[in-house]
Structure formats: structure tokens, C-alpha cells
């Protein structure tokens, strides 16, 4: 079934694939600060089909309180701060401490919307617990997670990797996607192709991932 159901804010698997490819291409073209999103073809049923799979963005630093303070020091080009010692040493220490994240976007056949799966790691490769992740999220993200009826984190089995990942539960997604999609005068086709950027504008905020503004204008 093609076509976004603007009454429910959902989309078909085929449209998810189209939007994912479009989104990742645009991200990779415009966002040189970040690694590329990569499409991993994968099937729940065994046979690899070209248009089923998920997007991955791995080993990235998110806009966390911890990483932000690292960034400020690292980007301090003209800093005349007497407290800073040898800059090279500082960079070493803090990038060694940096927490990295893997983000996966997969399609939920149950809810007919995208779902974010993510994991965080310390510099030694140890996984971060959900509490540890929440501790370093920007305050805005924590607020959304705690107070919004639409976004809450749980732990679920990754639909393709069969390992436990943290996820933003998809049950509220249709509700707010409905609002976003009805805010434009785009036709159906443009709405569909912009689905993932629209979706990520909200989901990204809950985990500290900033989406460049260019991605929100249809090309």
C-alpha cells in the first residue's frame, strides 16, 4: 500500500525505503561533520531483498553535556585561557573519554513508522546503561523523554540483529507525524520523501542528534 496515510501519520515499508535512501543521500552530501548514514539491506525472512533493511550511523559523538564540554575545549583555537595546559594533551585525554553512539533506523511493520535503535559506548568499548545515557543527554532531551506522552525509551530486541538495544517506543509516532505532515502544502509525494527528515527532527532531539536545516527543504 503506497501513500502516506496523513490521518495516521504512518507510511508503507516501500515508502520508508525511498525516504531513507533520499534522506541518507542528502545527509551525506550536506553534512561533512558527521559520518555517513549507510543503508544495510536485510530481511526478516532470510532472503535479502533490495528494499528492506535499516539505516546505520555508527561511532558518533552526540550533542551530550559530556561531549559538548569536550568539544568546547577542543575547538578553543584562540583561547588564551591560562588554565589550559598543553593542548595536545587535553585533546588526547578528552577524546579518549568520549562516549560514542550507534544509531540505527528500522521500519516497524507493526506500527508502520520508523523506529530508532541506539547504543552508547565508553572509550573502552563497554556499553553504557540507560541511566548512564540519560545522565549525559542534553536537558532538553531529558525533558521531552520525561514529560511527553509521545516519546519514552525502552529496551527492545533489534529487529535484525537479535540483540538488545535502547529504543524510542513507536506507539506515539503516528500522532506527531500527523501534525508535522499536515503543516505543509506539499503533495503526497513530497510529504513521503520528507518523512524521515521530519521524523528525525523530533527523534534526534531526544538523543542529542542535530539535523542540518538544509535537510528540511525538499531538494
Amino acid at each position: 500500500m503506497r501513500g502516506v496515510c496523513t490521518r495516521s501519520g504512518s507510511l508503507s515499508a516501500a515508502d520508508f525505503y525511498a525516504s531513507a535512501i533520499y534522506f541518507s543521500q542528502r545527509w551525506n552530501e550536506t553534512n561533512s561533520d558527521f559520518p555517513n548514514w549507510v543503508w544495510i539491506p536485510c530481511s526478516r525472512l532470510g532472503a535479502i531483498s533490495e528494499d528492506e533493511g535499516y539505516l546505520v550511523l555508527e561511532k558518533i559523538k552526540l550533542q551530550t553535556e559530556r561531549n559538548d564540554s569536550n568539544l568546547e575545549l577542543n575547538n578553543c583555537d584562540s583561547c588564551a585561557n591560562d588554565e589550559l595546559t598543553d593542548e595536545a594533551t587535553l585533546v588526547d585525554v578528552h577524546s579518549h573519554d568520549a562516549h560514542l553512539y550507534d544509531l540505527h533506523i528500522a521500519y516497524s511493520f507493526t506500527y508502520k513508522v520508523p523506529v530508532l535503535y541506539f547504543r552508547g559506548y565508553k572509550s573502552d568499548g563497554c556499553h553504557l546503561s540507560l541511566d548512564e545515557i540519560k545522565e549525559e543527554l542534553p536537558s532538553h532531551s531529558v525533558e521531552i523523554l520525561q514529560k511527553s506522552k509521545w516519546t519514552f525509551m525502552t529496551q527492545e530486541e533489534h529487529p535484525y540483529l537479535n540483540t538488545p538495544w535502547y529504543t524510542l517506543h513507536p506507539c506515539g509516532t503516528g500522532d506527531w507525524m500527523k501534525l508535522l505532515l499536515s503543516s505543509t502544502s506539499y503533495g503526497d509525494k513530497a510529504s513521503l520523501i520528507q518523512y524521515l527528515p521530519a521524523w528525525l527532527s523530533v527523534i534526534g532531539q531526544t538523543v542529542g542528534l542535530r539535523v542540518p536545516l538544509e535537510l528540511y527543504s525538499p531538494s
Partner: protein, 98 residues
């Protein structure tokens, strides 16, 4: 001799007209249009809405199908997504039940 420094961009000193639109069952503001400095972050709009509506959690989005990151500058949002001399900001209630 003046030290080299970036010239203050005239656009960032501009005021931007923001038009707040209630959607869903969110309460409508008595005054829905106001001006904000372009150099302010979108966070200011969000906080203004929260204070006016006495709601902690709002779903705030613009007419181009996305919810702006609070760190975005208002002038950037207006330049890219403004229309007819203003930036339209929609809001809906998203408070948790119970």
C-alpha cells in the same frame, strides 16, 4: 588601527516576526504575533510559549514539517522557512497523561 574582526551581520540584528498558531486542542493565545531578535535561539520561542500557556511540554513545529532544535537561531529559521515576512510556529500539547 582596528583589530580585524568579523563584521556584525546586519541580518542577525534584525527582529523576526513570529506568528504562533495553536493546533489540536492547544489553547489559543490572546496575542499570537510578536517580534524576537534574529540572534536569539529558538529555545526562547519555546520558553515563551511554555510561560504563556503554563504548559511544561509542548510540541512545537514550523510549517515545513519539522520541529526545530532549540539551539537553532531564529534568523536561520526565518531565512530558510519564513514566508510573507514572518515565521509561523505551530504548537500542540504533548503532555503525558496521568
Amino acid at each position: 588601527m582596528s583589530s580585524p574582526r568579523a563584521t556584525e551581520s546586519p541580518t542577525s540584528d534584525r527582529k523576526v516576526v513570529v506568528h504562533l498558531r495553536a493546533t489540536g486542542d492547544a489553547p489559543i493565545l490572546k496575542q499570537s504575533k510578536f517580534k524576537i531578535a534574529g540572534s536569539d535561539k529558538f529555545l526562547k520561542v519555546i520558553e515563551f510559549l511554555r510561560r504563556q500557556l503554563h504548559r511544561d511540554t509542548l510540541f512545537v513545529y514550523v510549517n515545513s514539517a519539522f520541529s526545530p532544535n532549540p539551539d537553532e537561531l531564529v534568523i536561520d529559521l526565518y531565512n530558510n522557512f519564513g514566508f510573507d515576512g514572518k515565521l509561523v510556529v505551530n504548537y500542540a500539547s504533548s503532555m503525558a497523561w496521568g
